[in-house]
Subunit: 224 residues, 2 copies
DNA sequence: CGCGAATCGGAGGTAGCATCTCCGGTTAGC
DNA sequence: GCTAACCGGAGATGCTACCTCCGATTCGCG
């Protein structure tokens, strides 16, 4: 039993190979961020300026590549959750967390696929859930005890709300990639215990033409 | 120039053919309701107890079949919208409309694909939008004037909220197909101008195991 | 410098899936 | 009974994504 993370490496990669491995990872980060996990490995290879074969020698398959990138993204998400949970005002913490997560997933589709367990291995998904739960649960309870968060809310609702915001984001992004903020604030107004008036929405509603175009551009509407 | 809708029908279908046409339509209604518009015509043919060839002789392609079913579904949606718009209490009308639409789309995925313009011909989608707009716009304005609906809400937000509820519905349906109601009420609480406390949520949050299973069963998470 | 092992490129093999066609066999109905 | 209309469903077609293969190239040790 070895305690070093990289045990029994028979031989380090040749220098060019190692450099290409880095390039592949970088390209994967970028391409996955834009297109999500259903981007092709061919795309990633192109983006890295390499052939697909090179990618496949370094990573046995697509899942392995995603897995190799998992740790760093996972750490980013966990970091946000921890920071949010440490806020004295738990409601502010929750608001901040939902905002940051929405922003991340709006900017990086791969991260979103990760958060929402799309095309992530079952093990990884479970790992993420198990790590997040003990961080989120107390924060939610505290926000409720402090009287700011509605008491019928539950921590498991968080991913579902993220999913809802993600869809709104996808749908409205073509006209302005920041339009998701409107729907985030709407959701937050749903979560608070009581309020005298609406929180001002940070973005205007889509106008007629934009809406029409959004329906066309929307990837999920593939024609029938 | 003829004013009859079915002009120049060269000859009525043979009796067995006409009966099969009905069977196909019925099967399509059922299968589309369960699986949405990406159900295969092969599935529909099976369900109708016929071969695919028969379906394709009657309808030149899948889009034509969907189109043939469009009118009746379209009428149902429009009917709901009109009824909602006629309510004296416009807020109640809006709440009722969002509820009914959500219920429809939860029970019939085809209807949802129709509402959200997925795989519906551009002409049809435009037709639906143009008909709905003059019904929804005044209702929204009235609800705002009556002081119940937040003033920064817009009628174009309605389809987006439907989309959000649809996703929540998809995600949570495996454990209980009525779970969407929880998220509908959340959304409604976001829309009202002011409230002293939260509207009680009609469904409990998903429990731990259900949540885990939901992530697995979810069609959008196709594995990586 | 030279040589063998490691690496690269990217054209295609393979697989899966959905739409739609084709034609030998069947049936309605005059 | 006879013919035009109809049926069935195997498979042609088209597409897309994952992955493999092998000749050409490059690294880097001796």
């Amino acid at each position: 039993m070895s305690f070093t993370p990289s045990a029994a490496v028979p031989r380090p990669l040749r220098r060019d190979a190692e450099q290409n491995r880095q390039r592949i990872m970088a390209a994967a980060r970028e391409v996955f961020a834009q297109r999500g996990f259903d981007a092709t490995l061919d795309e990633i290879a192109d983006n890295a300026g390499l052939g697909v074969g090179t990618v496949y020698r370094r990573f046995p398959n697509k899942a392995a590549l995603i897995d190799a990138l998992f740790e760093e993204s996972f750490a980013r998400i966990l970091e946000l959750a921890r920071a949010a949970a440490e806020q004295p005002d738990a409601w502010q913490g929750l608001v901040g967390l939902l905002s940051s997560l929405s922003e991340l997933q709006a900017a990086d589709r791969g991260l979103r696929d990760l958060m929402l367990s799309q095309r992530v291995s079952e093990t990884r998904a479970a790992q993420l859930r198990d790590t997040m739960k003990p961080v989120l649960d107390p924060m939610v309870r505290r926000a409720q005890e402090q009287g700011a968060l509605r008491c019928d809310f539950a921590a498991v609702d968080i991913p579902i709300l993220q999913l809802m915001i993600a869809v709104a984001c996808d749908f409205t992004r073509s006209s302005d990639p920041e339009n998701w903020q409107r729907y985030l604030v709407l959701v937050l107004d749903a979560l608070c215990q009581r309020r005298d008036g609406p929180t001002p929405l940070p973005r205007p509603a889509l106008d007629e033409d934009t809406m029409e175009q959004a329906m066309r551009d929307w990837p999920a509407a593939k024609r029938g």
